[in-house]
């Protein structure tokens, strides 16, 4: 953003605490997002934006934020042209194909909160099915017959088992990525490049 040396976009929710710790550990003196209702924080010439996960790629791609942290799942789903130079390692999960146990019928309807990942998987398998975009409790769609299968996040798999569903195929392994705007990486290389180096060396361990 204009008027700031560096603007960072971070996702609210489960990745936030680790993202903050990792970037701080790599020497980025980020403000503390201490006000729960605020979305925008500043400290020195740094600006911090708190966004929904899926919005991080948008803000970074369009150059409002110079860099951000986002799960690989949301990054693939966004389908945007970003640099993704570092796998930060935390926030590990997988995006999988989930069906009712024993269900071998054809997949005609596929429900997911990741319609793009679902489409890419279908294309890769040479299948065609209608993809239904849902916003939450996606497993339910497979249980009640809204869809023949769902594509959803699996962290440990226990929730899934409890729901009486089966993980059939891992489509994507996800973890948090550092994403960088294509212009910002070049024009602010003096700041971003060393940050990338430190994050690759394992960020927090190399705190000075």
């Amino acid at each position: 953003m204009k008027g700031y040396g560096l603007t960072v976009a971070l996702p609210k929710g489960r990745l936030l605490a680790e993202a903050l710790a990792t970037l701080r550990g790599a020497g980025l003196d980020l403000p503390a997002p201490d006000d729960e209702r605020a979305m925008f924080f500043k400290k020195g010439d740094l600006a911090l934006l708190l966004l929904r996960n899926a919005d991080v790629p948008t803000y970074v791609d369009l150059g409002i934020a110079d860099l951000g942290v986002v799960g690989k799942d949301n990054l693939v789903e966004a389908g945007r042209e970003l640099y993704e130079p570092v796998d930060l390692g935390f926030g590990a999960c997988r995006v999988s194909l989930i069906r009712q146990p024993g269900d071998q019928g054809p997949i005609r309807r596929l429900a997911s909160k990741y319609p793009r990942i679902a489409e890419l998987w279908l294309e890769q398998k040479g299948l065609s099915a209608d993809v239904i975009k849902l916003h939450g409790n996606v497993e339910l769609a497979a249980l009640v017959g809204l869809a023949d299968a769902v594509v959803d996040v699996v962290e440990t798999g226990t929730t899934l088992k409890k729901a009486g569903l089966e993980e059939r195929e891992v489509i994507l392994k996800s973890s948090a990525r550092l994403v960088v705007n294509k212009t910002a990486l070049k024009l602010k290389a003096g700041r971003i490049r060393p940050l990338i180096e430190r994050l690759r060396q394992g960020g927090r361990s190399s705190t000075r």
Partner: protein
């Protein structure tokens, strides 16, 4: 309702756009680039680089047409039936383009204007240097502050990846990872394909080969083949011919469309904008043996430009047609007043943005 991703321009904005296109055209003309006018309707061709993203229309014959989505292809295709000129030929163009699939977001419209040039029939470092200098002059003319021209060499990426001797699909996946600077994915892919040793080292180095001129020396140690070395030598030869003052950056990991671009590619960045202002490169062999060019995005350029195009010439409000004619003969912008008396004329002058009112008795400046 206005279709998504389109704009209309009025007033100051419209004038700034017109001025910008005119000044750029004048600049290109001063370098000997000749104007071309190309049809906005083209026959649909599945081999066109934007075949999927172009707007389509159905002709009365039932044939599918598409709206012009790129000037380079349109220009070269217009040249081919005429027969290519023997030596270097310089062309310039300006006009709207349409892309159906472009998301209409900040800086991305579905209808947008490009101004650009193509230098056809010659392939040499001197020709590349000419285009770079011209691109830089265009940015200077627009008063873009702190612009940087970034040079890439997709052929270097191609030649490095080809050293891994992988099937086309695998090479393409590596290319995409390089272009996104996705080092984690790149390492994973190299593991999966069993690429090791110097090739692995060179491929993994590609994404980070960006920065200042020092990058070229670093790249030389990763040049695996004779061709990769020649790519770098070409780039050095281009740099030797550039005038001082051109702010340059390098990204030798830039790997977009490297089956199309045969040599140098370049883009321009400005700190105030998250997108490149211009883009271009050499595409020898893609459609004709030797050709290179670049295009500026008008909307983006104006966003990054200084006030260069915003200024309007002083306007004179004349009380009679005779006075107005005399002022125009002097080269001034003169408007004929419709007011009946002096007081009304001052009102009118403010309304039409005239700085002066001209009466038989003399010229008076109007307080804004």
């Amino acid at each position: 309702m206005r279709p998504e991703g389109t704009r209309t321009y009025l007033g100051d904005e419209a004038r700034a756009r017109e001025t910008c296109v005119r000044r750029l055209s004048d600049l290109f003309a001063a370098w000997g680039y000749e104007p071309v006018e190309l049809s906005a309707l083209e026959p649909f061709d599945p081999a066109h680089p934007h075949a999927d993203r172009a707007f389509k229309l159905v002709d009365k014959t039932g044939d599918v047409l598409m709206l012009r989505s790129e000037f380079t292809t349109a220009l070269i295709r217009a040249l081919l039936p005429e027969g290519l000129p023997a030596g270097p030929a310089r062309f310039r163009y300006a006009g709207p383009l349409w892309l159906r699939e472009a998301p209409s977001e900040l800086g991305r419209l579905r209808e947008f204007v490009q101004v650009g040039v193509e230098l056809v029939g010659v392939s040499s470092p001197a020709a590349d240097a000419e285009l770079l200098e011209l691109a830089w002059s265009a940015l200077e003319l627009a008063g873009v502050k702190d612009a940087v021209l970034e040079l890439g060499l997709p052929s270097f990426v191609r030649d490095t990846l080809e050293a891994a001797r992988l099937p086309q699909e695998a090479t393409e996946r590596l290319r995409r990872a390089v272009d996104k600077k996705a080092v984690p994915e790149l390492a994973e892919l190299l593991d999966a394909y069993g690429v090791g040793g110097r090739v692995r080292e060179a491929v993994l180095a590609l994404p980070d080969l960006y920065g200042g001129r020092e990058i070229l020396a670093e790249a030389r140690q990763y040049a695996l083949s004779e061709r990769a070395k020649l790519d770098l030598e070409w780039l050095e030869a281009v740099l030797a011919q550039l005038p001082p003052g051109v702010r340059l950056a390098f990204d030798l990991g830039m790997a977009r469309r490297y089956d199309y671009y045969s040599g140098l590619t370049f883009r321009a960045f400005a700190p105030s904008l998250g997108f490149p202002l211009l883009g271009g490169g050499r595409y020898d062999g893609a459609m004709v043996p030797f050709a290179a060019g670049f295009a500026l995005g008008l909307e983006r350029l104006l966003e990054a430009a200084g006030k260069a195009f915003r200024r309007r010439e002083d306007r004179y409000l004349a009380s009679s047609p005779e006075l107005a004619r005399r002022l125009r003969a002097e080269g001034k912008v003169a408007l004929l007043a419709h007011a009946r008396d002096e007081a009304e004329m001052r009102e009118e002058a403010r309304a039409v943005g005239a700085r002066f009112v001209v009466l038989p008795g003399g010229t008076q400046e109007v307080e804004p």
